[in-house]
Subunit: 152 residues, 2 copies
């Protein structure tokens, strides 16, 4: 499983194309070729996966049979909703589908943030307000994280 590192400022052009920074592209495993998967994130951002990692994610979902229950079907849908295959063009750019641009409210200025095997894509303004935490809140969040991690 891939583990990406880094945070990058990028621009979207008028056509909704995003140029993948070379520092990030260098981290893609060979096998990626030029195909990625974009999906909606839980927050107001998009998420990029290598195709392989995406298939791993969904394989987990698909291991559970659809006959089982409506809730299972619903869960799978919610989870995969929005996913799109995207291909890099000759200039290492991907075209972000319109729908997703709108969802994440992406303007020209965006940020790419590595997060494990995922890469999040935020509008710069949105991202900054998301990161805007004071020390007290941060330590509270850390505490919560710790608790939830230990209770599984």
């Amino acid at each position: 499983m891939t583990a990406f590192i880094g945070e990058f400022n990028c621009k979207l052009d008028e056509k909704g194309r995003l140029s993948i920074p070379s520092k990030l592209r260098a981290q893609f495993p060979e096998a990626v070729g030029n195909t990625l998967v974009v999906n909606r994130g839980f927050e107001k951002c998009l998420v990029l996966y290598t195709k392989e990692d995406w298939l791993d994610e969904t394989a987990k979902l698909n291991s559970v049979d659809d006959f089982m229950s409506p809730d299972i079907r619903r869960f799978k849908r919610i989870f995969t909703n929005g996913a799109n295959l995207v291909q890099m063009d000759g200039a290492q750019r991907i075209l972000i589908p319109k729908k997703l641009l709108e969802y994440a409210e992406l303007t020209a200025e965006v940020i790419l943030v590595a997060n494990g095997n995922k890469i999040e894509l935020w509008d710069q303004a949105v991202y900054e307000s998301e990161l805007n935490v004071d020390a007290a809140e941060m330590s509270q969040l850390a505490q919560l994280f710790h608790q939830q991690r230990n209770q599984g």
Copy 2:
């Protein structure tokens, strides 16, 4: 087994024809040719299969013996009953049978969503309400999924 990726906004024209997006068509295995199977989904949507995957699906059903119970027979009948073979025309469109249009309440605006080896077809409005979950429900669903996965 095929694993489709993607979510697509499409339009049905007045004749009830659905143009299969090229991104999706590109994911069909060669063998598909231009023949698909449409069936009713459990929810208010339709489901597309490659012919091959449909045959697998029915094979699974038929592995359960009809002698078993009336309910088994009934379920098989109802499940299989809605299935239709459809062929793509020269413009990669399929004609959705009237009955199925009505069943899923499809209007002009529809959505195609990959779901494992199936492709679901929703009316846009219906789909959006299906996806509309709050955080509490989501975490409940996730929990359910987790349980059911582990009990197989």
